[in-house]
Each structure stands twice: as C-alpha cells, then as structure tokens.
C-alpha cells in the first residue's frame, strides 16, 4: 500500500461527533416514545381517540351527505332558471361548490358539539362490536384458508382443463372435483363456488386454446399462400379449397371455417406485411401460475351467523349514535354503508399496534381532541419506530465512517458497501411495512436457487482459469437433460435426479473440450470463456430447433419440431426440492430440501478442497510455476477444474429450474455466468482466489439485497422493472470492480 496512513482530520471528527450526537438523541427519543406507549395516559388518550374517531366517522358521513345534498339541490335550482343554458360550465360549478361549502360549514358547526354530548352509551357498544368482528374475521380467515388449499391442490393436479370444458352437469363435475380433491367433502358449501371457478377456468383455457389454434392455423395459411392477386378473385368456397390444399390440417377444422376465411381474406387484401412478427407472436405461449380466485368463495352457515351477529352489534352501536345525532337515521343507505365500513375499521383495531391505531384514528381527525403536551407525547409514541430507525441509520453511518479503513481492509470495499446497503434496506423494509417473514422466505428460495450455480464459479477460480463465464456450457447441458426428462414424461424425484446426472454426464465432454481451448490460451481466459459462453448459447439456439424431440408438450405445436422457449415444470419436478421436508417457522417458509441440497454441494466442494487433488488444483491455480516444480501437471488440474465447474453448472441450472418452476431455453442461460460471478465476488472472492464460504456469504448477501430491494423498489416507486435494473447494476458493477482489483488481489 503506497497510500499514507493519515489520521482522520479534525473536520471528520467533528462531523462524526455531530452525527453521533444526533443519532443518540433520536434513539433516546424513540426509547421515550416506546415507554410512552405503555403509560396509562397515552393508552387512555388512544382509547379516547377511538371513540372520537367513531363519532367523527359518523358525523363526517352526515356532514358529507348534507353537503352533497345541498350541491344537488343547488344544481336542480339552477336548472330551473331560464338562463341556465347561457351559464358557463364554470359558473354552474362555482355556484354549486359555494352552496356545498356553505352547507358543510353549517353542518359542521351544528354537529361539532356532539363530542361534548353523553357518549357513555356509545362507548358501551364498542366492545361487543369489536368482539363480534374479531370472531367473524377469525372464522373467515380459517374458511378462506381451506378454500385456498382446495383451489391450489386442484390447480396443481389438473394438467388439462379441457376435460371440464364441455361438462354442463353440476353433479358430474362435482364428482370429478371430489375425486381430485377429496377434502371438498368436508366443506361441501364450498363446492358450488369451486364448480363455478372450474367452469370459468375451463372456458378461459378453451378460449385460449382455440385462439392459439386459430393463430397457428392462420400462421400456416399465411406461410403457404403467396399469390394474393389470384386469391383475391376467388369466392369463399374456392378460397377454402385452396387453403385446405395448402394446409391439410384445415380439413379437420370445419368449425372454424368462417373465421378462417374472413381472416385469410383480410390478410390477402392487405398483403403479406408483417408475416414474420405475427407468426412469432401467434406461437408465443404465456404460462402464468394460477392464483386462487376468492370471487367464488362461499361462506358457511356458521360464518353467516357470525356475520349476522356482527351486523346486529353494529346496529346497536348505530342506534346509540342516532340517539346522539338524530339526523343520522335519515341518511340514505349508501351513506350508511360507507359509515359502517369506516366505523368497523376504527373499532376493529384492537390487535393493531400503537402507531397503526394512531394512524387510523388520525385519518378520522380524532387527533383534534388532543391538547397541548398530550399531542406531542402521542406523536412521539406513534412515530417511535420511525425515529428509532432514523437513529440507527445515523449511528451506523457514523460508525462506518469511523471504521471505514478497518472494514474495507477486512472485508473489501464491495462487501462492506453491499452489507451496509443490505442493512439499510432492512431498515427501509421496516419503514415501508414490508412483511419481513415473507421476504425472508423469498430470500431463502433464491439462495437455494442460485447457490449451486454460484458454486460452479469456485473450481474455475481455484484452478486458475478465473471467472468461468463459459459455465453456460454446463447450463445448456443441464437444460438439455431437463428437456430430455420432459420428452419422456418423467416426474418427481426421478426426473430431477435423471436431469442432474445426465446433465453432469453431458457436461463432462463439453467441459473437457472447452478446457483444451483454455489451456492453449493461458492469460486470456476471461475473454475466451465469455466468448465461448455466448457463442455456445447462440449455437444451441439452432440446436434447440434441430434436435428431434417429439413430445407435443415441449415442441412447437404447429411445425411439429423445435423446442419451445419456456417449459413449465409443473407436473414434472417443479418445486419438489423446495417442498421436500419444508416447514414454517415464525412465518418463514423454509425450503428444507433445496437448502440441504445446496449445503450438501458446498460440503462436497469443501471436502474436495481438502483432498490431495483439491489442494494440488488450488496450487496450480494460484501459482502454476510452483505447482509445476512440485510435480503437478498444471494443465490437467486446469482441465479438472473446468470440467468440475461445468458439471456443477449443469446441476445448478436443473436446481434453478426446479425452484423457478420453468426451464428456459434459447438465450435465457446467457446471463447466468454474470450472476454467478457477481455472487462469488460479493462473497469476498477475487478472480484468483475463492473459498466455499465466499459462495455462501455471497449468495445470501446478493439475493438478500435483490429480494429486499425488489420489494422496497416496488413500494417506493410505482411500476416494476426497477429491481431488474438494480440486479444488472449490482452484478456488472461488482464484476467490473473485481477486474480492476485483479492486479492487486494477490499479496506482494
């Protein structure tokens, strides 16, 4: 290090001291706030706010209703005027608004006094309403859960919805459903809704299928017909004959005859513009995972009873409110319903935390009853969490500022920044009220998903070829074996292990040939491996079209050859590792099988790195001349490392597809090398030195930042896409940084 060790300057010290003081003040304030939450005074205030909020909700509803009425009345009045038509839009609007405002002001002053009235009776009714609402909500949640479970099971088990499409008899349909999901028998009231749901889906699917069929047929027709001039002269029957001549499949599609003829005519009239795009569009298949449709949820009789109880409790409360504010009873039904929703929301807030309750009550202007100091204390108590987060963030900032040199020396600049970024994201998650357990489950799945792929970088770096961007070779081997498993309709663990093992076997010769190339190009491995990776992906784009697969589920329907781009693994081995021994703890779903598999792979690599060959390979990578002097065949070690890397990449992509639920072919594997490289580099590896721990640390950090960042980005900025931009920025940035450091990475 040529940089001189400088003592932090005076300015920096003062700056840090100020930040420290500020953060300490914030943290102390938040502690004060948290303490205030538990004091009798604030809790009493909060409960008073609740009652106030209920009254406000009622009176505000009334006021709004009166104001709206006044506006309507004014409009009516204006219409009757003879010169109404001559009045401008703005004038009418202005006069109505005036009337509305006047009425509102009057109503407000009229009802502002109700807070001072006798509210004891109203208060008495709040508690029963709350408990009734609670009972209802609990029951509803339980029932909806059952409904959701049945739906999900149904969606997963049914591969072909066409069976259900033509069925009109409810009895037959319900038997079919029961045979698939026997659980329905225990909740028969749901059956009717589920039948509706199934009908809906089936008809949607059929529409999709028909449309697709039509598109494909049209694509074929467009491809076959060329001579527009002659075709234009033909009448419908002649045209149909011509079409069938060219595309024999049409003969079986009498039902679609008219549509097809019309479409063809339009096409012929317009010429062949844009054939290619249309064809491609027509055959592109979009598969989306089905979501539970609560529209068809049917409540059980018990739930209905609870609902009735809750309604009764509300009516009692409302009656009391009417006593207090007699005008309420005169409201129309729509307004009453709106008031009911607001009041129920205010009342049913017992289980929420302090700041959420404060937020709801404040929305109903209940904070107006707070006076002087109680206003401040309530505010402090409500925003204690936010203050605490701000305090911690500042504290962290100051600490990092002080220990920057030590931190970067120990962990390296990128790891420090990413970790810091991760912590700040966690703090932001708290601010944005993101449900952390769900996010953590998301992170765990992603860790398992990318972990094995990132592990593929390890032997590459260790054996001295650097970042093995050519791991896409292995990815393609894995994808090839996956589609072979699909070709033979394999399912479950058989399919998974078949894909892994066959993928590894295919990867061996690929990796071997690739390593021969690398051994001839020492010193240029990064360039070579990136080019090899990219060009092999492109080569296989042709390959996927030419390899003679025959299973109709995986090939293009129309041409009968060539693989589709995306293959759903539902019904094959999607998520089976995720769900193997999976359990839930603190609301976090643990994909046990997936994590175990990843850790097992790590363990194997760790053991390998402690074996004689593993040690020799690492030596050959870090100092080839040393290794050669020790009687090690450096080229053989590089070949070994490359082949290992390719094999792990093959297994990795199978695991990735398993967790993702889809196998993506063609250009999809192109980016894998970059993602894997950035993971291992974030974990602390350099382009010449890596350990298993770097993979584990890196995959948690990288995926943690991405999963969390995605949610926060979505919460903070409307519209998606930001997380993808972030992923590219982080992963490419980190690779760039590592490459700039590669010269100084080893010790001098």
């Amino acid at each position: 290090m040529s940089r001189k060790q400088k003592k932090p300057g005076m300015k920096k010290r003062i700056f840090c001291a100020v930040v420290f003081a500020l953060s300490a003040a914030l943290i102390l304030t938040s502690v004060l706030g948290f303490t205030l939450r538990t004091t009798k005074g604030t809790l009493g205030n909060l409960n008073e706010m609740r009652i106030n909020a209920v009254l406000h909700a009622a009176s505000d509803g009334l006021v709004e209703s009166i104001a709206a009425d006044a506006k309507g009345a004014k409009l009516k009045e204006l219409r009757k005027l003879p010169n109404f038509r001559q009045m401008g839009m703005n004038e009418v609007e202005g006069q109505c608004q005036e009337a509305e405002d006047a009425a509102r002001a009057e109503a407000e002053s009229k009802y502002s006094g109700i807070m001072d009235g006798d509210t004891t009776k109203v208060i008495e009714k709040i508690a029963p309403l709350n408990s009734a609402l609670e009972a209802y909500a609990a029951k509803e949640e339980a029932e909806q859960k059952v409904y959701a479970e049945i739906s999900v099971k149904l969606y997963e088990s049914v591969a072909d919805w066409t069976d259900f499409a033509g069925e009109n008899d409810d009895q037959v349909l319900s038997e079919k459903i029961i045979s698939i999901v026997p659980e329905v028998k225990e909740a028969e009231h749901l059956l009717a809704g589920i039948i509706k749901d199934v009908r809906n889906i089936a008809s949607e699917e059929k529409e999709n299928d028909d449309e697709q069929m039509l598109n494909q047929l049209m694509a074929a027709v467009k491809g076959a017909l060329i001579n527009y001039e002659e075709l234009r002269a033909l009448d419908d029957d002649q045209l149909w004959g011509e079409m069938v001549n060219n595309v024999p499949e049409l003969a079986e599609q009498e039902a679609l005859k008219d549509t097809l003829i019309t479409e063809t005519r339009t096409y012929v009239e317009n010429g062949a513009n844009g054939v290619a795009e249309e064809t491609e569009e027509a055959v592109e298949e979009i598969s989306v995972e089905r979501e539970v449709n609560y529209e068809y949820f049917v409540a059980s009789s018990e739930l209905d009873a609870l609902d009735d109880q809750a309604k009764a409790a509300y009516n009692e409360l409302f009656d009391e409110l009417c006593v207090l504010i007699p005008d309420l009873s005169g409201l129309d039904k729509k307004m009453k319903n709106s008031i009911q929703a607001t009041i129920e929301n205010v009342v049913y807030s017992e289980n929420l935390n302090f700041s959420e309750r404060y937020g709801i009550y404040t929305d109903q202007k209940a904070d107006s009853i707070l006076q002087g100091s109680s206003k401040t204390t309530m505010w402090l108590a409500a925003y204690a969490t936010q203050i605490l987060i701000a305090g911690i963030a500042l504290l962290l900032f100051a600490l990092v500022n002080i220990f920057w040199r030590q931190l970067t020396k120990r962990f390296g600049v990128p790891r420090t920044i990413i970790t810091l970024f991760f912590i700040y994201l966690c703090l932001a998650a708290e601010l944005y009220n993101i449900y952390v357990p769900l996010m953590l489950s998301n992170v765990l799945v992603r860790v398992g998903m990318y972990g094995v792929l990132a592990l593929a970088m390890l032997p590459g770096i260790q054996c001295g070829i650097g970042l093995n961007m050519g791991m896409t070779l292995g990815c393609i081997a894995g994808l090839l074996s996956t589609v072979i498993a699909l070709q033979y309709d394999m399912t479950g663990f058989t399919a998974l292990f078949f894909s892994c093992i066959l993928g590894a076997l295919i990867a061996i010769p690929l990796g071997w040939a690739y390593s021969l190339l690398l051994n001839r190009m020492k010193g240029n491995e990064m360039t070579i491996s990136t080019y090899v990776g990219f060009s092999f992906v492109s080569l296989m784009c042709i390959g996927w079209m030419l390899i003679p697969f025959t299973n109709p589920k995986i090939i293009w329907l129309l041409s009968g050859r060539g693989l589709r781009v995306t293959h759903s693994l539902l019904g094959s081995f999607a998520h089976i590792l995720d769900e193997f021994l999976a359990f839930e703890i603190f609301g976090i779903e643990i994909p046990t099988g997936l994590l175990l598999f990843f850790l097992a792979c790590c363990l194997i690599m760790w053991l390998f790195s402690r074996s004689k060959v593993g040690i020799a390979m690492t030596a050959a990578g870090s100092n080839p001349r040393f290794a050669e002097a020790s009687g090690i065949n450096v080229n053989r070690m590089r070949t070994l490392g490359t082949v290992l890397s390719t094999i792990i990449a093959a297994v990795g992509i199978v695991i990735y597809s398993q967790a993702f639920g889809y196998a993506q072919l063609y250009t999809a594997p192109r980016q894998m090398g970059f993602i894997a490289a950035s993971i291992i580099l974030i974990g602390g590896a350099t382009v010449s030195r890596a350990k298993v721990s770097h993979v584990i640390v890196g995959v948690f950090l990288f995926e943690g930042v991405l999963a969390l960042g995605q949610q926060i980005a979505n919460a903070a900025v409307a519209g998606g896409g930001l997380s993808e931009v972030m992923r590219i920025m982080i992963s490419n940035g980190i690779i760039l940084y590592a490459l700039t450091q590669s010269g100084g990475g080893s010790r001098e």
Binding site: K612, A619, S622, N623, R625, E628, S630, R747
Partner: protein, 529 residues
C-alpha cells in the same frame, strides 16, 4: 589540456541504507583503453549509470562526488546530456531497431536533413532526409570498425556479431566523442569476432577517444587494456597500469577477501565416502539466460558441493535441469538410478528436493499459510499428511509438523496460519527449506539460498544447511553467486563457465585461482580438488 579526459572523484552512492559505491575514483586519459573489473555486484553498473545520468540515480536521491571532464566540473542530468557532452555507450543488450536499415539505425535521432519548399514555408520540422549524405557517413563509420557490409541492409536478421559492430559504428559516427563505454562487448561474440573487436577498440583509442572497457575476461583485459581499475563490494581496490600486473594478480584482487568475512563452520568429523550420489553426464539445459551446455559433474554422498560462477554462465541451470523445471537432455543418475529428466514429479519421487532461487515465483504459494506451504510437496509427492477414508488433509498432523519446523528453523511468524507472502525474505527462505525437508530427502539442491535476505538471516540459513548435512547426512548441492558463502560452507566448489564446469576447487584455494577460474581464463587450470 587536462591530463584526464574524464575524472570521477570520490563517488558515493546509496540505495536507501545500502551503500553500493563508497568513495570510488576513476580517472581516464584520452586515447587509453581503461578496463573496469569486478565481480557481479561490485558496483560497475552503478558507476556507469552515474556517468550517464540515468534517471534511476536521480530518482533514488542522487550521488556524492564530482564528475570532471577535460578539467571542468560537469553535471550530467540525463543520458541525452551525457551524449551531448561526448560520452557514448555500447550496450550489452543491443539498442537497435530491427526494421530499420543500418544507416537509419546509425543516424537515428541525428538525421541529416535538407530544406525544400515546404520546410522553407513551415519550418525545420518539414525538412527531408538527405539519404546520400547519411549513407556516406554510415559507410565511413562502418569501415572504421572494419566490417564490410552494405549500409542499406536491414538490421533485423543480421548475425549478433554484426549488431555489436553496428552499435560501435553508431557511437563512432557521433561527433565530439570523447569517452566510449563498452559494457561486456565480447560476451556474445565468437573468439575471432572478439579479436576483431579488440582490434577496433585499439584503433578507436588511437584516434584519441578514451575507452572504458567492462569485462570479466581477464585475458582480454591483458590483451587490450592500458590501465585497469578494480572494484570490489563498491570500493575501489586499485588502479594499475597493465605493465605492472599479471592476470593472476588481477584475479586475486578481484576476489581478494582472503579470510575477511569468512563464516567458518564446524569442521567435518567423518570422511566423505567415495560413493557417488549424483552423476551428471553431458547435460544440456535450455534455461533462458542460464543455459547449461553439456555439463559433467560427480557429487559424492554426504558432501556439500558448491556451484559457483558468474551470472549467466549456467550455474543455476544445473539444479533446474536435473529437477525437470526446464527442458534438458543428457544423463543423470541418483545413487545409481537413472533420473527421468523433464519430469519434476519423478525427480521428487526419486528422493531429491530443491530450494529454488526464485523464492517468490517458484518457491512459495504466497497467499497460502506457512503450514500449507511446508507440507505441500510431501502431500503431493508421497501422499503424507492425508488421513481417513477420503484421504483428506490431516490438519492436526500438519500443524504438529509445521510447529516443529517453525521451532527448529526459527521461523519468525505470528502463527503457522500466517500467509507466507507477509513474511520477510529470510523467513520465506526457511519455509522453503522446511518444505524441502518435509520430503525427507536424501539429496538436496539449494539454489541461491541467501539471495535478498539480510546478513543475520544468511548466517542462520547457512548454519541450517550445514546442520542438515552433518546430522541427517543429506547430500547438498549449493548454488550461489557469493563465493565467500560457498567457501565457508562447502567441501568442494565447482566453478561453472559457459555452461560447463571449468574446474573444481577446494574452499581454501587461493583467490587468484578462483578469479581465474571464474573469468574462464585459460592461463591456469587451478588446483584440482
């Protein structure tokens, strides 16, 4: 006119704490050939760098002393400055552009140009080359070094000997040349070319130009030089006229430490057996800069044999060739068993070990810990320190052995887990020795064991080698550029010249015989040991 064309008075130069020149004085008369003699590292190059005002001198704090030319004090600030003051240099490595013709090379940056229309309008930058005048000049310069070659041929592809002469011709062509430095000009020449060169030097000297002649070859010195200055360890030994000395005297003065600085070691108690440990016959090694050309050597079991010689003569090539690190042909036997050449693994398996001269390049895994470095070879060659069904590395046994070696060899470190890259040179060398010892070798090559380490550490490393030899009976071949070191430790010392053993001497042989042997002089065969 002053008596001396060039005087360098009281030159002292320090690189950091390390003084490389101490109060050196060099005086050169016009028209004389002045030989500058000294071992590797005696300070000849530094002195010449000062004369040429090389940036390396100024960037490391300059020097003390004065440079006087023709009686006037001068300050030479850059090589360009030196050239303009009439100092020329014929480099050891050729400074010629292969794609240019001889004329262009000779006239490089001193082109003769003539004006024409554009240059009259736009200034001198636009002038064109006067090819005819340049060719005439080049021809004249070439004929003065008496080689008959067309001045328009390209330099690339000419024989090396010719390039040397073109370099000289280029210097001669410069006007106002007063002093010319020849830096080992005969190193790459054949014998007849060398004779021709000496003739050229003499004729240049006759024209009044002084020549500083740097060389190791004493017989050439005796043949060409008028006066001789000898440097040793950065100090001036003497300046003598040729007529007052002999090659033997020069050799003794060049080596000339006598008993001074000798690190005597414990005398050998038992006699060395006559059994041959290593037998090398007609071994050729293609190691760049240290080629071995058909060496023959017998190493007796239980001895420490030193391999000495000047840099570039091939002494380092011997261990590297036998151990299979560089391509080699020939025959080598260890205890009667033939060694497979060009295969480090089988050399190691045969029971040989080597401590490489390139410690940081070949000797160590700088990122790895001390213990991993120490057991690496034993693990890879013999499969030691592995245990269990999976044959994984046995951390406990490794730690135990590493700690033992750290104690025995006194390796200064924080723990066995410290990366070797952070150790000092001496401690790194000890780790290398420990790694060789982990193989339990019967036979060890130790190449330049003290290069780049401080004096205290040097002594420790040498003591360790002697101890290993005496206590464990390991036969050691020690290659070193430092003759004193070899003489203090070895039983016999083989001097390697031009890729062959020129003679084998006893450590107590005279300085003169070492000096003569190293300079490859045929004047004496030395005392055979």
């Amino acid at each position: 006119m002053a008596e001396y064309v060039l005087e360098m008075n009281g030159i002292t130069k320090e690189y950091g704490q390390n003084a490389v020149l101490k109060d050196v004085t060099l005086r050169v008369r016009p028209g004389e050939i002045h030989a500058l003699l000294g071992e590797n590292g005696a300070g000849k190059s530094t002195l010449m760098n000062i004369l040429f005002g090389m940036p390396v001198i100024h960037s490391t704090g300059g020097f003390k002393g004065q440079v006087v030319m023709d009686g006037a004090n001068v300050k030479i600030t850059s090589p360009m400055d030196a050239m303009s003051k009439g100092i020329g240099m014929v480099h050891q490595e050729f400074m010629l552009i292969p794609g240019f013709s001889i004329t262009e090379n000779i006239k490089l940056n001193r082109e003769i140009s003539k004006s024409w229309l554009a240059s009259k309008m736009l200034g001198r930058e636009m002038e064109v080359l006067d090819q005819n005048k340049m060719a005439a000049d080049a021809k004249k310069a070439l004929s003065s070094v008496s080689i008959g070659i067309d001045e328009y041929s390209l330099v690339g592809g000419l024989p090396v000997g010719y390039m040397q002469f073109i370099e000289i011709a280029r210097e001669i062509d410069k006007a106002n040349m007063k002093v010319m430095v020849f830096d080992e000009p005969t190193a790459v020449l054949t014998e007849s070319e060398a004779q021709q060169l000496i003739g050229v030097m003499k004729s240049i000297a006759e024209s009044g130009i002084a020549i500083i002649f740097i060389t190791h070859r004493l017989d050439e010195v005796m043949q060409a030089a008028d006066r001789i200055t000898i440097l040793r360890d950065g100090k001036l030994v003497t300046s003598v006229d040729k007529s007052q000395t002999t090659a033997e005297k020069l050799a003794a003065l060049m080596i000339g430490r006598g008993e001074e600085g000798m690190m005597r070691v414990k005398a050998r108690e038992n006699e060395i057996s006559d059994e041959i440990a290593l037998k090398v016959r007609n071994l050729w090694v293609d190691m760049p800069g240290e080629a071995v050309r058909g060496i023959n050597l017998d190493v007796r079991k239980g001895e420490i044999i030193g391999i000495g010689g000047l840099a570039g003569q091939g002494k380092i090539g011997l261990p590297n060739g036998v151990m299979g690190l560089y391509p080699a042909v020939g025959e080598a036997e260890l205890f009667g068993q033939p060694i497979k050449l060009n295969d480090p693994a089988s050399a190691l398996r045969a029971g040989m070990a080597m401590v490489s001269e390139d410690r940081r390049g070949v000797g160590l895994l700088l990122d790895q810990s001390i213990e991993e470095n120490i057991v690496f070879n034993a693990m890879q060659v013999h499969g030691d320190y592995l245990n269990g069904f999976l044959r994984l590395k046995n951390g406990r046994a490794i730690r135990k052995y590493a700690e033992k070696m750290i104690k025995e060899l006194d390796i200064r470190c924080t723990s066995p887990l410290q990366p070797t890259g952070t150790l000092s040179g001496g401690n790194q060398q000890k780790v290398c020795v420990a790694r060789a010892l982990a193989l339990n070798p019967k036979f060890m090559f130790v190449s330049e064991p003290t290069r780049g380490i401080d004096i205290g550490a040097k002594q420790l490393v040498l003591d360790t080698l002697v101890k290993l030899n005496r206590e464990q009976g390991i036969t050691i071949v020690m290659v070193s550029s430092e003759l004193q070191e070899l003489r203090s430790v070895c039983d016999r010392i083989a001097i390697v010249v031009e890729g062959k053993v020129s003679c084998i001497l006893k450590p107590d042989s005279s300085d003169a015989s070492f000096g003569l042997a190293m300079s490859g002089s045929k004047l004496s065969g030395g005392e055979q040991a």
